[in-house]
């Protein structure tokens, strides 16, 4: 099994890039207004730069790279879903439709900035060069986690909703005590924003003025529960009540997400205290491979959001900007090769044996582990014999 693949984000800037003065002026002014503001947008749904896009400017190279990352992330999703249907994965949670929110944000921070994800951030993982095998491991049922957080600077997934935001906050306290200028980025969903943990984290980070960047992918749904059942005040407004700077961005506009994240990260890095970005996006698939969204949402709702597809939008923009067919053809070939790698890596995945868990549960020797491991091995040998 080979783990070296052509991962997305090969060319990305490990520093997350620098904020332009034009961007700083616009976003700085918006944050003075505590009321709900329309989501920040640089490219509209037809792929046209907005007035702000024109005045601030759009980096074509970056747009091309992010487009490629998003295409590969989406391919991982469709391959993984197919693998789930074939019984190769137990479960898969698609990030279909949320690629811009994920790619745009992760590419705007530094490689040294620690990330605390939820469980749907496959595009984030890919951008941090995590191998598809390591992303799928958990969903194949062979492990509770995939990658090594020390290597990727992405913590393992948190499935108990919202818990990771407190971990990120504590990690950020450590970052500050270490006098590092790293930022800690944590992802959570609109539904998770109802958990006490998330609200404790926001308050805690604000009270301590900690370098945390909270990133909420508001994909409009928590399984079957729509956002308006969770809250009356939009999250980017709620943030202000905690003393956390709130940003509102079109989560399907990769360039806007990148710009806002870059700016917010720079503020947080500079000691301004925590910030929260609410990215408006949409979960185009069901909650997971086990969910049937037809039970609770209309085709119209879905159709309206399909029109805002982040990848289609960016491709339109790139074509308008004169990016040649050859680029898209190259990308299509890269995508096919990537898909083959995903399938191959998935099928080659094998997990530990239960015996390993006895060694992994405690850091120090524990008599119950020793005794029960011996019992387990005895039983296994008897079965084999």
């Amino acid at each position: 099994m080979t783990l070296t693949v052509s991962l997305p984000a090969a060319d990305r800037d490990p520093e997350g890039g620098a904020v332009s003065t034009a961007l700083a002026t616009v976003l700085g002014a918006r944050q003075d207004d505590p009321r709900s503001v329309p989501p920040f947008q640089l490219i509209d749904e037809d792929g046209e730069p907005t007035a702000l896009g024109v005045s601030i400017g759009i980096d074509l190279n970056l747009a091309q790279e992010m487009h490629a990352d998003m295409v590969l992330a989406r391919r991982l999703d469709s391959e993984a879903l197919a693998l789930q249907r074939q019984g190769e994965l137990h479960l898969w949670l698609m990030s279909w439709g949320q690629e811009a929110a994920q790619v745009g944000s992760v590419r705007a921070v530094r490689d040294s900035d620690m990330i605390f994800p939820s469980y749907r951030e496959h595009a984030v993982a890919l951008c941090r060069r995590i191998a598809p095998a390591d992303i799928m491991r958990q969903w194949r049922g062979v492990s509770h986690s995939g990658w090594d957080p020390a290597e990727s600077k992405v913590h393992i997934n948190s499935l108990v909703l919202g818990t990771q935001t407190l971990h990120a906050t504590g990690y950020a306290a450590g970052v500050r005590m270490d006098r590092s200028d790293d930022v800690v980025l944590t992802y959570f969903g609109d539904g998770s924003a109802s958990q006490g943990d998330v609200n404790e984290a926001l308050n805690w980070a604000a009270a301590g003025s900690l370098p945390v960047l909270f990133f909420c992918q508001n994909n409009q749904w928590a399984i079957s529960t729509p956002t308006h059942t969770q809250m009356r005040t939009p999250l980017h407004v709620r943030a202000a009540g905690f003393g956390v700077t709130g940003y509102h961005v079109d989560g399907n506009d990769a360039m806007a997400v990148h710009a806002v994240t870059q700016y917010a990260a720079e503020q947080v890095r500079g000691g301004a205290g925590p910030a929260l970005i609410e990215a408006q996006t949409y979960r185009l698939a069901g909650h997971s491979s086990s969910d049937d969204p037809k039970r609770y949402r209309t085709e119209d709702d879905l159709a309206a959001w399909l029109k805002k597809d982040p990848i289609v939008r960016l491709e339109r923009f790139l074509r308008r900007a004169g990016v040649e067919d050859a680029h898209f053809e190259d990308l299509a070939a890269r995508e096919e090769a990537f898909a083959a790698t995903v399938r191959e890596q998935c099928k080659a995945l094998r997990g530990d044996d239960l015996a390993a868990v006895f060694d992994q549960t405690y850091a120090e020797a524990h008599p119950v582990m020793d005794r029960e491991k011996a019992e387990f091995l005895g039983r296994r040998d008897r079965t084999v014999a």
């Binding site: 137990h90 499935l159 868990v357 006895f358 029960e372 039983r379």
Partner: protein, 324 residues
């Protein structure tokens, strides 16, 4: 008269009957309305009783239980759904310090008729936090009643009895048995906290609850083929335990093996072993043995068959007991 239901559908029917019988009964939880719950246990209830009584809550377990307590103080009888066993812990304080203690704290003035339904246990190939057996935490807490159903008939009646109880009840539903079908009678045959002797045995008795009752029955069948008479008791109630029944079968079969999915350390099996040993020491031919999961965090799905007690592990314990 009987009807055939799956276990999940039987709970659904029980909830419907309770709601129809008492308009103070409300159902609340994540995705319980339009979706009907991730296991469809509350399917159709919102259409029948409306969104005031079948509430899709914000995503917050502490909030679900905490507000259920408030509703109960106001005279309602909330039935909370916790989506999966591993997601009950955010509500731990509300259950253990608030729900369980309110009556004693108020010197008996305030009763909290709240039911907390929890799909429990493994065996469905789920990802982490979706397969846990955490009954011992709650059974350890004075002020809570804890019950565990294993079949559709019990599911139908026990959910109604739990709702009728003036005390808080933790109601466990064996998720890997949701789709098992069985006959459901119109009248309950037992009260909520009675154990059921499913099979009499003179050599040894298996004591199980929830998802492992079927395992115990299968093990008893296998042992019978080898000429042993093995009894099976379905506990049904974990707090309080039906001690008289346990004592009786222990005295009759002289050997006892407790089977549960939870880890053995400080589990229900340990409590039963102690109780039975204390009260019928001289009737026993062997120590009460426990068969449970290893004392590990619930492992990844591909290891769960090695982790969970199965028929072989039950038979291994029966053999140890018989040879003692």
């Amino acid at each position: 008269m009987t009807t055939t239901y799956s276990l999940g559908a039987a709970i659904n029917a029980g909830l419907r009957a309770a709601m129809a019988g008492d308009d103070k009964v409300v159902v609340m939880g994540e995705d319980v309305g339009t979706l009907g719950g991730v296991f469809r246990v509350t399917d159709g209830l919102v259409g029948e009783f409306g969104a005031d009584r079948v509430v899709d809550t914000p995503l917050a377990e502490s909030g679900i239980v905490g507000t259920a307590i408030g509703l109960a103080l106001r005279g309602y009888r909330p039935v909370c759904e916790i989506q999966f066993d591993g997601f009950v812990y955010p509500a731990f304080d509300q259950i253990v310090s608030q729900l369980a203690k309110m009556r004693a704290r108020s010197r008996g003035r305030l009763s909290l008729p709240v039911v907390i339904r929890i799909p429990v246990g493994g065996g469905i190939g789920a990802v982490e936090h979706h397969s846990e057996s955490n009954e011992a935490y709650f059974a350890h807490t004075a002020g809570l009643r804890v019950v565990s159903c294993s079949n559709p008939d019990d599911a139908f009646h026990m959910i109604q009895q739990a709702i009728a109880s003036d005390d808080p009840v933790i109601f466990y539903e064996p998720k890997r048995r949701y789709w098992d079908k069985g006959e459901v009678s119109t009248e309950p045959t037992r009260s909520l906290h009675e154990a059921a002797v499913l099979r009499e045995g003179s050599d040894c008795t298996l004591v199980a609850h929830g998802p492992t009752v079927a395992t115990a029955l299968a093990a008893a069948d296998a042992a019978r083929e080898d000429g042993f008479s093995i009894g099976v008791v379905d506990l049904r109630s974990l707090s309080p335990l039906d001690v008289p029944t346990l004592r009786k079968v222990a005295a009759e079969s002289h050997r006892m093996v407790v089977v549960h999915e939870a880890s053995t350390f400080l589990g229900i099996g340990a409590e039963i072993a102690a109780t039975v040993t204390e009260s019928c020491f001289y009737d026993l031919e062997a120590p009460v043995l426990r068969v449970g999961a290893y004392n590990l965090p619930y492992p990844p799905a591909h290891m769960e068959n090695d982790f969970l007690p199965d028929i072989d592990r039950v038979l291994e314990a029966v053999e140890t007991s018989l040879n003692f």
